[in-house]
Amino acid sequence: MTEFLMSFWQTYNTLFYTVLVHGMLALSIYITLACGQLSLGNAAFMGIGAYTAALFTLKLNAPFGLSLLAGGMLPAFVALIIGVPTLRLSGVYLAMATLGFGEVVRVVFLNMSITGGSVGLNGVPPKTELWHLLLVMGVLIYFFLKLKNSRFGRALEAIREDEVAAAVMGIKTTSFKVWAFVIGAFIAGVAGGLNAHFTFFLSPREYGFDFAVDILTFAILGGTGTFWGPLVGSTILTILPEMLRFLGSYRLALNGLILVLVVVYLPNGIITVKKKD
């Protein structure tokens, strides 16, 4: 029995790690969606976090905690710079700006020598342990639970529902949107740092547009009414392809099919919140 568990863990621990990292990314986009803003930059923020944390470890020999912190701070700072001008305006400006931004980041990674260019970074020491991931995920869940019924959470929901009405209630809509975006970038960056320290290897290709859409899909599939939705969505979409390996190249089609079914039959996602009397 123990032997079975051991071999099971040997086979699937990377998958489990990935589920947790993807869960963090799903939460990182959820917080912007919670105030009605679409960010397509979270894959790029993850990338910036991954490279920053890895370089802190490789070049500066920094302690792991510091590398992760740096991996969160730099994307958060970049998000602040992008967010302030674009989030003054309501509408799809953030989506457009972050779309372009993702492309810029990819090209920068490809061309800088410190990031290893198109080869990427090799030999990042494996520092991430299961408890690190569980701890970060635990902190995030705690954060989102507390946010839910606080004045801050309500302000975000009000902005999502109707930005004009929220402003007229005295809610500083721009600063809430910027904060949400910055916190999301921080989460994505830390997730990137954690990921970098168990995959050993970073390549600029991993953080492109495809992955930005994957992150969005996590949230949409699970539903954005509560933060549990994106967590469920990311878990399903990370595990499913593994379960369906026997389908060969059809499994990608099946992923798409499931998404279509959910959008058609459960337009609010798998986790739907209903208020009743």
Binding site: Y142, F143, K146, L147, N149, S150, R151, F152, R154, A155, E157, A158, E161, D162, V164, A165, A166, A167, V168, M169, G170, I171, K172, T173, G225, K274, K275, K276, D277
Partner: protein
């Protein structure tokens, strides 16, 4: 309390408000009437900061608020409702009112994360106050319901409750009785008077003349962006300009 000085608003080549000056005194229920397209809603948008005047100033309790953003104007004590209802549909009634109370909450993000007593105290006290406000509009029984599930008339009342929750010094109400049945309208008149008795100054736009004549102490009449009459309901409805532009003869009896 509110002073408008020579407000001009152009949309493209169209002059929607033409050098409008007006004062709303403290404690009043002030009516703003006039035909559709006269510029009433545009004026509310300018006062609440959603739209900027082409020229002119808005002075609120001595402060020039002409160029402040809507959230800062709200913080000065300006509340409003919308002609096309803008409640938070997917939130509960209670959450709608609590969102309206946003600026009354003071606790910090740290207090939120650590569940400090200040948070518990504020949440509890303001929840009770929110229920009281809902009760004022006979909606407390439905506090946990989703706002979308309300009837049209109830949604208008919820929006009024949410605006009242911001503790405004001046409450701008845009066509509160539109789409209400006579019984609901009657009830609303009572509620408006009751709010006013609690010390809130109200400025309302309304087409239902029974409503306007019944509750307003002072009425301004707008036509094509110009102020054509100002006075008590009685004076205004027998003003020849108003009869010609808007009301017709029957109202003046």
């Amino acid at each position: 309390m509110l002073r408008l000085e020579n407000i001009i608003k152009d949309f493209g080549g169209l002059r929607v408000l033409d050098s409008l000056s007006l004062q709303v005194g403290e404690g009043l229920i002030f009516g703003l009437i006039g035909p559709n397209g006269a510029g009433k809603t545009t004026l509310f948008n300018i006062i609440s900061g959603l739209s900027r005047p082409t020229a002119g100033r808005v002075i609120f309790n001595g402060t020039d608020i002409t160029h402040l953003p809507p959230s800062s104007i709200a913080a000065c004590g300006m509340g409003r409702t919308f002609q096309n209802i803008r409640i938070f549909k997917e939130l509960s009634l209670l959450e709608n009112v609590l969102a309206g109370m946003h600026r009354l909450f003071t606790y910090s993000p740290v207090a939120m994360l650590l569940n400090l007593p200040v948070q518990k105290r504020e949440e509890k006290a303001l929840r009770e106050k929110a229920l009281e406000i809902l009760e004022l509009f006979h909606l407390a029984g439905k506090a946990k319901r989703q706002a979308e599930s309300l009837s049209y008339g109830e949604q208008r009342k919820l929006e009024l409750a949410r605006a009242l929750a911001t503790s405004p010094k001046l409450l701008l109400v845009d066509e509160p009785a539109a789409g209400m049945n006579p019984a609901e309208t009657e009830e609303l008149m009572g509620e408006i008077v009751q709010i006013n008795n609690r010390g809130y100054t109200i400025c309302l736009i309304e087409h239902d003349m029974k409503f306007v004549m019944g509750v307003c102490r002072q009425v301004a009449v707008l036509n094509f962006g110009e102020l054509i009459a100002l006075g008590s309901p009685q004076e205004v409805k027998c003003n020849p300009l108003v009869i010609e532009a808007y009301l017709g003869k029957e109202e003046c009896k």
